[in-house]
Point group: C2
Chain length 313, copies 2
């Protein structure tokens, strides 16, 4: 634990690409970032902050977690006393890797995994509050809900970032449609005929989102260390890099560990079920996009060759 110098405060700013959670704007308490790729998350006073810090401490030293799984978690650099964004004075902040900083114009989806966001040991009041929201959103029906997103549409259209109320009203139909628009070149608002042209390179391929989700799934079928309640999976990539054909690897990261409890020898069946549901949705977008590519090739007047990634040449 260290106290930052006042000259350091000036470097802190509100994250540009935060799609869910409390925002450090209008005098409110929220996370901050610096230019060196670190993300400062205020430790909430109700014990949740300390629980998340305790999780990171336990996780980072737990030798049972395989190396290939660690890459799905942000690096944690401990905690630090910092001037809070709401002007309330010095406050402990969790210091994390700023996942987004390595992306220029990131498209981001925050997917809260699990068909329940509460944990068995919670109070009746807390459970009822969560259950009500879980039923109102797609959490119960799909096993996950989109908690926030931004889609980069290009230099002209910029970002589409729906508001909190719109996100909370997403139906199963909306979720399916957003998972398509997320990897489409024509993803501007209101466009129902998403072309899914980036699906083969973002969802597909050996380093794509689907393979990463499957790797995570294999771990969740086996690990009985942690139960990740109300935890989110961030999916992010740079559309511009993909368009230009440069090597940008789409990423997934797990975040928000304030409600992680010990697994006690039982797998996290709640997270695993939701993850499998998301995998099914993503793989459907991918297989649809492959089918339509093949169809395009066949229907094209010029003879076309369908490549492995489903694009026509």
């Amino acid at each position: 634990m260290s106290i930052a110098h006042s000259s350091f405060y000036n470097m802190l700013k509100v994250p540009e690409h935060q799609v869910a959670g409390h925002l450090a704007i209008d005098g409110k308490l929220g996370p901050l970032v610096d230019d060196s790729g670190r993300f400062y998350k205020p430790l909430q006073g109700d014990g949740r902050g300390n629980k998340e810090l305790a999780f990171y401490e336990s996780f980072s030293s737990d030798t049972r977690v395989p190396d290939h799984i660690r890459k799905y978690f942000p690096v944690c650099y401990g905690s630090q006393l910092l001037e809070a964004s709401n002007g309330s004075g010095l406050l402990h902040h969790l210091v994390l890797q700023d996942i987004v900083s390595s992306h220029r114009n990131p498209s981001i989806m925050d997917v809260k995994i699990g068909s329940r966001t509460w944990y068995p040991e919670a109070s009746d009041n807390y459970i009822q509050k969560c259950l009500e929201k879980d039923r109102r959103t797609t959490t119960v029906s799909l096993g996950f809900r989109i908690a926030g997103l931004q889609l980069y549409g290009g230099k002209e259209s910029g970002y589409w970032r729906p508001g909190r109320k719109e996100v909370q009203s997403f139906t199963v139909y909306n979720v399916r449609s957003i998972l398509r628009r997320f990897v489409s070149s024509n993803s501007s608002i209101g466009n129902e005929n998403s072309d899914c042209s980036f699906a083969p390179s973002i969802y597909g391929g050996s380093a794509g989102i689907l393979e990463q989700l499957l790797e995570l799934k294999a771990w969740f079928e086996d690990q009985t260390i942690y139960h990740f309640h109300s935890c989110s999976l961030l999916i992010l990539f740079d559309k511009e890099s993909v368009s230009k054909g440069s090597a940008s690897v789409p990423e997934i990261k797990l975040i928000d560990f304030a409600h992680v409890v010990e697994g006690k020898g039982v797998i996290d069946h709640n997270f695993l079920g939701g993850l499998c549901s998301l995998i099914k949705f993503v793989s459907e977008v991918l297989s649809d996009s492959k089918e339509s590519s093949i169809k395009d090739c066949v229907e094209s007047e010029k003879p076309g060759i369908c490549t492995d990634n489903g694009n026509c040449q």
Copy 2:
């Protein structure tokens, strides 16, 4: 639909090996069986019976269900008007394959799968009632609960069939212990040092319980036709046949479909999560039993050969 003759009634009797659900005893309404291997389940008046009949009708004609999955469901022979077991007169009964009839001294476990037994469309009252029971049992914590069981201990000790109250009070610890006792030769009451000697032949092997569960899991990762709420997985085998080395294949069957709803293009993540949790428990018993067999062989004074199924020769 046919009405049975009165001479036929005489052949109907209370099932000998029913481990959960309503029993047709003391003037109560419950299922009956005959000597030809059929199981007659009264259609409950609150619509549940008709929902279950509708499921069987839809399922049996659904060409999307692969043949290798059908074997995990009882055959349904429609419905029949029969004298009810509670003496209330003629009542529609669902006519099903009597799964247990082909077993002489079956050990049976009824495992209700899923971390919630309610479905999103249910009434608030129904949801609260189910939720309360799901939290009180291992349903929430494990993703499944044992709803009933009988263990055959041999000619002398007969069956151990715990009462409803005892079953409902099973903890995670109890469940783990019962999954071991279920495949042990020394499974009499109170014995904590289960030898798991039948684990390799019942849980293991290419036709064993684990392989069957994995085959079912693969289907649940993909199928979006049905969501099986409050459905049970029966696990059954004949301990005597196993002891004598005769070819008795352990079986799993899904039963109780009064709360099945349409999947609408979403996988049954609730069932799948619970199934994966059960698979983890079963595979742990199996790997423990293999380890202890190897240890026994190594520690034995006589040199022993460990066979593939973990037994010592």
